[in-house]
């Protein structure tokens, strides 16, 4: 008996279309975020994360309509991230039907935004996304630093200290992505996941690198993650949400079946 660890499929959406598409059996439109969200909802996903990678500000209207359409028929929590820069952006997404918003670069530029957003809308809907990369300390010990711009630009900020600060300012959850592992299918950076999970009192979502179901289990068992996020292993139909949950349950992890 207890709180279930969550499995969260993530959709990258550009101008209202899911990037690269999703390979489900019988799907009518592999690029339609609404249909894909509906399918994940039916398949037993615990939440859905929707990452807006739309470049132009004008096209953001499309994103709002997509979020509205998803929220009308998907009755599990929906997180929206990407391009959230202000309290007004947050309000727009929450009003459109997002349950949580994920703040990344804007938190680095203006940490006070996290505090203000948490005070205004409640910590429960403020997720801070952290993109971290392993670097060598002068004495050779590993540590992790925050990177922006898809892992290209270093900030000099220590990931653990940053995670703690974000939680103190009012983040209700941390979405932690290893930029070393993202896209590799080699599994989460478990040392990073464990370090951040131990460092903060709020839940941590592990992200970046999932290539098989055991990686999901490791994220919880070794990384201490409260939730695991993955994209490609689900989108390309390699594994279903049900298979992922069955595997995790088989490893003794509490899941919602």
């Amino acid at each position: 008996m207890g709180l279930a660890r969550r499995i969260i499929p993530c959709l990258d959406v550009d101008n209202g279309r899911v990037v690269k598409g999703v390979n489900f059996v019988d799907i009518r439109d592999a690029g339609d975020p609404v249909e894909i969200a509906r399918r994940y909802n039916e398949a037993g996903a615990d939440e859905i994360t929707f990452l807006d990678i739309t470049a132009s500000h004008e096209a953001r209207e499309t994103t709002v309509h997509t979020v509205e359409a998803i929220a009308r028929e998907v009755f599990i929590p929906l997180t929206v991230g990407g391009g959230i820069r202000s309290l007004a952006d947050i309000r727009t997404m929450l009003n459109a039907g997002a349950d949580k918003v994920s703040i990344n670069t804007a938190a680095i530029r203006e940490p006070q935004l996290v505090a203000d957003a948490s005070a205004r809308f409640g910590a429960q809907c403020i997720v801070v996304a952290i993109d971290a990369k392993r670097v060598q300390d002068r004495d050779g010990a590993p540590r992790w630093e925050i990177f922006t711009h898809g892992g290209r630009r270093p900030t000099g900020i220590d990931a653990l200290a940053w995670a703690r600060r974000m939680a103190e300012l009012g983040a209700g959850e941390i979405l932690l992505t290893s930029m070393d592992r993202d896209g590799t299918r080699d599994g989460f950076d478990l040392a990073l996941t464990r370090a951040v999970s131990d460092a903060v009192p709020v839940p941590v979502i592990a992200s970046g690198g999932v290539g098989n179901l055991e990686h999901l289990a490791e994220g919880v068992l070794e990384g201490g993650a409260d939730a695991v996020l993955a994209a490609s292993i689900f989108h390309f139909g390699e594994y279903s949400i049900a298979e992922a949950k069955a595997h995790m349950a088989g490893r003794g992890i509490e899941v919602r079946l």
């Binding site: 207890g2 279930a4 009308r72 039907g97």
Partner: protein, 224 residues
């Protein structure tokens, strides 16, 4: 709505809007569960005319209480509950607002419609095995049904619902506890008294089980 779970039921539902966040999820879920009409409003005329009332809430309790009082939602709720005897469903911070006081924001007096208080889950919350538990309590947890109730109809004991909260309700009258959940402490997940049912979890975000609970609410005559 084409994908509704059955025929229209439950007459009209008013979702009390005191301006503290998105209530469309609640409204959409009620429509999906088969409500004939759903209005998100704090207009006294709308609330008086509705067949049943939903009292939701998200965010911090101090701001919620201030807006509830400023807009007169406390009186509207009281009228629906005790004068009109309508079925009322309170959700999350809406549930917490019913108690006497909350520890949140340094201590906030609440509506006092139910005896008891709202407490912080704690900075060092531990599970049975000593494992540290994260706060907010966020995700799907098992609700133990403490007594039969029309709103539990068709929902198995121990079914998981979606929770997201850092403060929890402890009712003074333990006979009111219709459901509980363990997370370091025993949390009152559902309270029931006469025509009032209050839940800490989010039925509108709890997929099949949540929609079933909403459907049960729409079919409920307010007795138990």
């Amino acid at each position: 709505m084409s994908a509704s779970m059955g025929g229209a039921a439950g007459g009209s539902v008013a979702v009390i809007d005191y301006g503290m966040g998105n209530l469309h999820s609640v409204a959409s879920a009620l429509e999906h569960a088969g409500a004939e009409s759903v209005q998100v409003s704090c207009d006294p005329a709308v609330l008086r005319a509705a067949d049943r009332v939903v009292f939701p809430g998200v965010g911090a309790i101090r701001d919620c209480m201030a807006e509830i009082r400023r807009l007169g939602c406390d009186e509207l709720l009281q009228t629906a509950l005790t004068t009109q005897h309508k079925p009322v469903l309170a959700i999350c911070v809406g549930m917490q607002a019913l108690l006497e006081r909350s520890e949140e924001n340094g201590g906030v007096p609440c509506l006092g419609l139910l005896g008891g208080e709202v407490r912080f889950l704690g900075a060092d919350l531990r599970g049975d095995d000593g494992e540290r538990l994260k706060v907010p309590h966020m995700g799907w947890n098992e609700v133990r049904q403490r007594r039969p109730h029309p709103l539990w109809e068709g929902i198995a004991d121990g079914t998981r619902f979606y929770f997201v909260h850092s403060y929890y309700v402890h009712a003074a009258d333990r006979d009111l506890v219709a459901g509980s959940v363990d997370y370091g402490v025993s949390i009152d997940a559902a309270l029931a008294r006469d025509n009032l049912f209050a839940v800490q979890f989010h039925p509108e975000k709890s997929h099949t089980a949540g929609l079933r609970l909403l459907r049960n609410f729409l079919a409920w005559d307010g007795s138990c």
